[in-house]
Symmetry: C2
Subunit: 358 residues, 2 copies
């Protein structure tokens, strides 16, 4: 294959600390498995850039990025500098939408060596995917205020669901379920309370079910589904959810496995018309920035997902992905560990330890 072009955007806060470790490991894996990667670092899409330029990214960001194969992304947000809805809508959420990365894929896995907040679980017990719709639904900046600043102030916020948007994420999720041994899909809904959009979501699931006769599917309202993540996480295989519900479930799932700091995610444009974005689930964590104690494993694991995606089925890339995940597992089990995992190692030490195992 020709060299893969990867844009590197560290973003804010600990994004800048975990990114070098992600790169260290991805480069080590690429060397070992003969994968040709070309990295280009972008110094924008962060809150300091906003303070200087009044926008999160240069006006030609789309043209600058659109021909990359992937974007390796740290974390954006620094609320004391720029309100979150401005920094996120000006960067990450733009990528997701304008590069049509309509699948947000997030593994939830109980890993060895990670203290689990749930009682009586062991590695292997929890192992599923959250497939989150990533471009529409509840995440919208459509709406507005009436009677602003008065007692009658009224705020309307639109959620927008399209058949195209719902069907394509459901299809991805059904196919993913079909490819797994358990072939089980769970749909998150709230059609008993959110009376227009969620019954529509349910209808589309129902309509697609028969096309995947070997996939067993069920649905739960989001309230009870969140509860079941805590009470019986073993029973999930693939969970498909709208933008907001997927956001919640893909933080809650990793929390249940004790792994928020290490959870990865992929924002995928399956058609490969535009670059996909690979980023850890955790945020920019301004409160711990500057100490070199952030856990780099989410960033590293996201890098493994990126290699897998770039390979598009090629065995060398799958092997590179698997080698990184195994190295992560070993470091989680035997250390070194950052403070959030009960250790005292630095971000750099953990990154180097993973890279050495490759």
């Amino acid at each position: 294959m020709p060299a893969h072009r990867i844009a590197v955007i560290a973003g804010d806060g600990i994004g800048n600390e975990v990114m070098p470790e992600g790169l260290r490991v991805v480069e080590a894996a690429a060397r070992r498995f003969n994968i040709d990667l070309q990295f280009t670092t972008m110094a924008w899409a962060n809150c300091d850039y906003y303070l200087e330029h009044g926008q999160m990214m240069p006006s030609d960001w789309f043209a600058q990025l659109k021909d990359f194969d992937a974007i390796y992304f740290g974390a954006v947000g620094w609320p004391d500098k720029v309100p979150d809805h401005i920094s996120l809508w000006g960067s990450l959420l733009k990528f997701r939408r304008e590069f049509d990365e309509y699948v947000n894929l997030r593994p939830v896995r109980l890993m060895p060596g990670v203290p689990c907040p749930l009682a009586n679980k062991k590695p292997g017990d929890i192992d599923f995917y959250v497939v989150r719709e990533n471009t529409e639904g509840e995440y919208s900046s459509v709406g507005g205020r009436m009677f602003e600043g008065t007692e009658r102030e009224t705020v309307l916020q639109e959620s927008v669901f399209t058949r195209k948007g719902v069907d394509r994420i459901l299809k991805y999720a059904f196919e993913l379920a079909q490819s797994r041994p358990k072939k089980h899909l769970t749909s998150a809904t709230k059609s008993n309370g959110i009376a227009i959009s969620m019954p529509f979501w349910d209808e589309r699931v129902e309509a697609m079910g028969p096309s995947f006769p070997d996939v067993r599917w069920d649905k739960y309202h989001i309230d009870i589904l969140a509860a079941r993540f805590v009470l019986s996480p073993e029973r999930f295989d693939v969970v498909v959810a709208s933008n907001l519900f997927g956001d919640i479930l893909s933080d809650l799932g990793p929390a249940c496995t004790g792994t928020i700091a290490i959870a990865p995610s992929a924002n995928i444009n399956p058609e490969r018309t535009f670059p996909s974005v690979f980023e850890p689930v955790h945020g920019s964590a301004p409160d711990i920035y500057g100490q070199n104690i952030a856990n780099p494993i989410g960033m590293i694991w996201s890098g493994a997902m990126m290699l897998d995606f770039l390979g598009n089925g090629d065995a060398r890339y799958t092997a590179a992905h698997d080698a990184i995940v195994r190295a992560i597992e070993q470091v989680l089990e035997h250390g070194p560990r950052t403070p959030d995992m009960g250790g005292s190692a630095s971000t750099t030490e953990v990154g180097m330890a993973v890279a050495e195992l490759l």
Copy 2:
């Protein structure tokens, strides 16, 4: 005080099994503490009524109910008979909105004798309230479909937040926090993704904060807040949330304490212009209906909250509430227990055991 008039609505499924036990205990407490209660049973607001009449309730339901002091409510919903959004919007959600029960109050408490799904927690460690906005926000039947049935199908779902609606729930929550030893309020938001309504919610919290200088408040995005319910539930005291976020958190909280089946809730109209509704958090559970194995403790505990509310500060009523909660604690600790709690007692046996302790 004159007799309190209470409308009794069992609803669907296990609502019919837990209600008699709720009444048994509430009546026992009323006798012991000399509280005068008058019950009137309504045979509507259930899915069978809908199948017969094409609506969940008689057309004059409002007139029939409005002069009651409280509604003691089981659970509504039987999706195989009537879609949830029809049965709920035709009953419970009507009460909440038309009786302006704008506070949904739900205690989250780790009780003795209840197996906790979280590792290393003991009774007393988790003890907080979720204060949920109960009339507006994301729960709306405003919106619609365009291009229905075609590839272009587009569904709009409106969320509606008003200054009045937001301010009054925040005020209730700040006051509740103020009345508690820790004086700590947490606001649930998602202003980084839901870009119109949630920044407004944040603004109103910010505006109200200074009126409660002794209350320490903070805010979390709903994704990470859900994660913290699992990772550090000890740190919460009062959590205030919009309708949807409150719905999720008030199932997730009880799940984290292993108590979904026993969690109570109060839908309160604080001005007492209209009746308030007291109902267990659990639903109608058609799958276990008919076996007399449903756990009646959520229903009973909701009855305790009802007495407390009716007393409006009167010590006898508070004592009745506390006596019921103590009796619940004893039964949880020493049995009898329904199957969901690892026992083999029936719904009736548990109800009788609690009543006997009074």
